[in-house]
């Protein structure tokens, strides 16, 4: 029984590219990305013998990111990822698959060429192209199984396109209960009819059709999530998760599904009665670990 190479990919991770565009009136626009490229294809030789004839260097991938930012600009992280993924798979015979993961760091405008970044919110995009049938990523790497038909925007290069965000922390200081759960030999938790519910949203949505304006979809999805979080009287974080996902799909017809990963950032009420104070829960300890972690996908029925 021999030992062989399985799924594999390689690329340049975390190229930090900032694009400045100068309008005629002296106003600048700024786009700030972190781009990670992973390519796959006919790469057995470099693994087995070190023959790199089929290898496009990761340094070249980095250069391509910079050159494309210069030449084409960055309309949106999704569109930029598509440009890159199509280029790598179309231009190199030995490269048949590309995955481009992008983080965008939003900046606020302060003046014609001044900007501030106060935020921890990060917009994300991911584009995956395979011109050779089955995905060629490693077996145990993240591999989303499309719940409905994959986004198809050209005959020759089927691509999956994802948008999303991380780093958005939300908190309701009431309208959250947790009751009626299973009680077993290891259960000590008391039911509660009024607690703080807080989470840091990690969301990824998949496009079923490619919109004219990816940025508008991003804004609509983000706003729908926030409104659903704030507007849901919650009996479990799972319920809030489903409400958030449903709101995004209702607001964004181009989306097929959304995956949400919501840590339950526990805020434990501190009992101040030993200090001669009343029992009203007004002071909380924001705990770090452990934390609940609720993960779920919401999608359109087939």
């Amino acid at each position: 029984m021999g030992i062989v190479l399985g799924p594999n990919r390689y690329g340049k991770a975390e190229t930090r590219v900032v694009r400045v565009s100068r309008a005629a009136d002296g106003t600048h626009a700024l786009t700030d990305l972190n781009v990670s490229v992973a390519l796959s294809g006919d790469l057995v030789d470099t693994h087995l013998t070190g023959d790199n004839a089929n290898v496009l260097p990761t340094d070249t991938q980095k250069n391509t990111v910079y050159a494309f930012a210069k030449q084409h600009g960055i309309a949106s992280p999704e569109a930029f990822g598509l440009l890159l993924a199509r280029h790598f798979t179309a231009s190199q015979e030995t490269i048949t698959g590309a995955r481009v993961e992008i983080e965008e760091y939003p900046w606020n405008r302060l003046g014609p060429h001044s900007f501030s970044r106060e935020g921890s919110l990060v917009r994300t995009a991911s584009v995956r192209i395979s011109s050779s049938g089955p995905a060629s990523g490693p077996a145990s790497a993240p591999a989303p199984a499309p719940a409905s038909a994959p986004a198809s925007e050209s005959a020759s290069a089927p691509a999956e396109v994802f948008g999303g965000l991380t780093g958005l922390t939300l908190l309701n200081s009431t309208d959250s209960e947790f009751t009626g759960f299973i009680v077993d030999d290891y259960t000590t938790l008391a039911e509660t009819s009024d607690r703080i519910l807080a989470t840091a949203v990690d969301a990824r949505w998949r496009f079923s059709s490619l919109p004219a304006d990816f940025n508008a979809v991003f804004g609509a999805a983000r706003d729908a999530m926030i409104a659903a979080f704030a507007g849901t009287y919650s009996y479990s974080l799972q319920q809030t998760l489903f409400a958030m996902g449903k709101a995004v799909l209702e607001a964004c017809p181009d989306l097929a599904e959304i995956r949400l990963r919501l840590p339950n950032k526990h805020h434990f009420a501190v009992d101040c009665t030993p200090f001669g104070l009343d029992a009203a829960p007004e002071v909380f300890h924001a705990d770090d670990r452990p934390y609940g972690l609720i993960e779920g996908t919401v999608l359109r029925e087939g």
Copy 2:
């Protein structure tokens, strides 16, 4: 076209449990884990209506981690993960799947009850049990497709068991080349016949059979990887990756496959000739980003 719940799971993440075992002679042993549990099953109601009748609280999961550490001890992270995963799926009718991810932080012994932790190396283990057929994790969550038959150690509870490590940084200061690669319009990289090769190993291996001594397998796998890294004259990091994976499988017959994720931690030679110094590459800039990222799986032929 309705909007429905897709794959989902929930649990308590990052329970930091430390187990002290006291021998009769006053010698203590220490085990230091970070345990993350994720459960799946019949969880539609909590998402759609907030009815938690099928929900085992994440707080109870945390308690169970502590209680099992107390009652059963921690023979190895893999064995402890199996105990927990089997318990959750066996004891609750509504819970049909469990994933237990564990990090173990190794300590060095200083004395009978004194220990030091100098290390960034983390041992990892993962156990996945599903008593109801298909995996029930979210569509886009990491979902390793076993390349060979899954580990099967009991009739009633098929489990997949993984071991691994992160945080092991390795460096060869010579015996590394990179030449013969594709040159396209965006390539500026020069070939090199002598470079530093450095990486931080992220490895995960899958057991095809459950060994009597998980700790012995861990040691053998780690040592085989390190020896293969140091002993390979490298024409590409891919070649080194395959050599490391092959060495682990050769050393550990209980393993079916290994996935390696190797950042290429670039060390760029600094040109000191502008300062009147010779050109011998003796001084390097250890760069942060971007970095190459090589991912691959090595497995036994079916």
Copy 3:
């Protein structure tokens, strides 16, 4: 020559307290702090013999933070720090010095009891009280030397009060030069008449008098810094630093001095001419390390 105890202090660090205040109309307000207390005084015995008779446990300090948040509310981090520092030094005979460091995490209001935190900006406050003359912190700990008379707000408890912020990233995409510097044997840098200037502000200001509204001073100082950064045509980051500090002191008469710590977050123009593109600097590499670091104090003349 004997070995003796020098300056020392101890306390509870990073108590994460969240205060919810409920108005009669159902509107909630939220204050989110990270409080670190350090006490000093007659603490020789606990160091030399382990006699803890003079030691107020750090657990008690934590309890006090919670109890004071409950009982007194949190008008501002500066005011809350003053309350705590005065309490510890006034209530315990053996404790003569207190340093309270506070981080406040700002939240945006989404609804009557819903909030979002998108921000990396952190407001800081520091209060130092010593009822026994000289500072008793460790010799090599941060020890600001007041440039003018210390804030004095009561006869019995002279306190120094500081405000500040961290995590505010600012960027000008033009109006920044760097020319006319020293050239020595190790200089290879070219002069530039147009570069990106970016920094992450770390500011700390000292109050000479205690204002009625600490929150108003915080807002005025923050806004003045941002406006000065955006409005300064910069020949060096030092020049921008001084302009920012001057603007804060001009806007805030209660402040005696401000210390600024400004990393020069380098954005290097990428040369895209090897790829057949023009030389206009539109694409930049946002580098991580090394970075320039400019530190300076701006203060009122004595």
Copy 4:
């Protein structure tokens, strides 16, 4: 009352330099540093008018770090810091003060030119030179007040030299009590006669004379600290701190003082009696925040 510039400094932070030395027999040695330089002097003009005639660019400082590593090698972080600090203050008329902070990342040897870095332990060094009297760092920057006469190793350039380490975690699983402390209205902590004592050492020692072999002093100081931690039956972490500092000074005659910063990494015993288990404290929750923080200086009597 005017607004003026106060203490200031500037420099290049975090230059990541790796030095490879090749012996004739093919054996390599590796030194891995993170070097931060801060210079001070006659720098008013660059702050007030942007005139950079007195400014040695931070880019040049970076080049100097590389060139000196190439030309002189790196005997120890302390010696390398001295070389750099003396160079900057001696070679530039406008630069009168220099502070060089160095982190060294230790590597283990695997073979003649292979190395592993498993460790989180970081060795630190700091050198401060001022040829113009009083320290010129910012008022509120760390400013150690030497407890005894400053290290003086040449007539022209008085230097203070510090060594140290961070990232060394130590744990005793018994032989630690905490009793007899102050009880006030906010105290709920119970006394304990057997607890886990764990800390992550942050130590900085000051040399009173410059040894022939800085590396030997580092090893002796580290070993003395570890032995004192393990060997002390502790009634308070303060007591352990003093014992550790005393042991270092006794082992290292070249040291004048040592500052220790020891977080009390709380390990709370988990009560498993609700789960039908006995009360012996064998399982602990390793908590993140808040934590105790004990800081103190141990020094030789004047």
